[in-house]
Subunit: 139 residues, 3 copies
């Protein structure tokens, strides 16, 4: 049984989903692990991780619009407004999704379904540099 | 330390929660692991996993109704409508819950609380055949 | 590779976030693990776990208020009402967040971002004694 860890940087262009499946899969492929568990961890409180459909791009924009409607960027609703009208909604959207995903590894690859892609979900309006930690355990 | 992996098929009857605690526990019991970590992973983007109360069945129907209200099946709200009015809401409900659960294993059993059951949450209107991957690590 | 497991008790004072980063970090520090994976698991269906900003306390109260608005304590909406008007909303809020977090361990510490704290999110109105299970794997 062995472990491997790395940190990936992800540049975002403001609110929206950034696919990270490919860089995660590429790192995994270099580790020589056939069977194991891969954990992806987002080190932020205003961005998160989701697994979503990787086919029709409309799915991503519909998802983004849903979260904008559900968690309004309306400062009168919040006390925490010093970091901008999008900051508290970003924290809430992060809590409604997740900052962590653990994915079984089979035959050297993530056991994702055919239509599943891994996305970093940026919840802030402005572009950010985000960090995700990858942890792999297996043999 | 050893690993075990399997895939379970879950038949759903349309929207709603299908308990999978029993088949997961049965598979775990056959692995001879006393202490470890069990990961359940749903290979879909329109079904997800939740841990919920396993006593009063009303909890499940209330939960289903809440998610139907929260994420309306109203095509005018979405661009991604080709796969039916329930498809985009299914993706959103999946993002609001989770496709992955990791549960510690103690004394050969999942460390679930007394009232916790594991459920596959089908978000599509029609019955589907779903797959969940189980990954176990421990000794 | 080795494992360690423990259970932590967390006393809540009714609805709201209780930070558990410190007791979790203290337990981890005593295990002698440099690199690994730490899983936190909440054994309840009316409390959950979130990672949130650990700086401005307004973030926590805003988050609590958001979930109170989103999941109304209005018995006419639910069938499961016998355990009080806050019980079914508590189950739903738990499903919207998560009962489990897995966090990579690097250099003997959780790989949390600067502003990330781990919180138990109590969803019931009255104080409760909650249990979280910690599972650590690494070397």
């Amino acid at each position: 049984m062995k472990q491997a860890v790395t940190t990936l940087g992800v540049s975002t262009r403001g609110q929206g989903l950034v696919e990270v499946t490919e860089p995660v899969a590429r790192w995994l492929a270099g580790q020589g692990i056939e069977t194991g568990l891969l954990t992806v961890f987002c080190r932020h409180t205003s961005a998160s991780l989701v697994i979503q459909e990787n086919a029709d791009p409309d799915v991503r924009t519909d998802l983004e619009r849903f979260f904008k409607r559900l968690v309004a960027e309306e400062p009168s609703l919040y006390d925490h407004t010093l970091e901008g009208p999008d900051d508290m909604p970003a924290h809430i959207r992060s809590a409604l999704t997740s900052v962590q995903l653990s994915i079984p590894v089979l035959e050297g690859r993530m056991a994702l379904g055919t239509w599943q892609g891994i996305y970093l979900f940026e919840h802030r309006t402005r572009p950010h540099s985000r960090q995700i930690v990858l942890h792999l355990l297996g043999e």
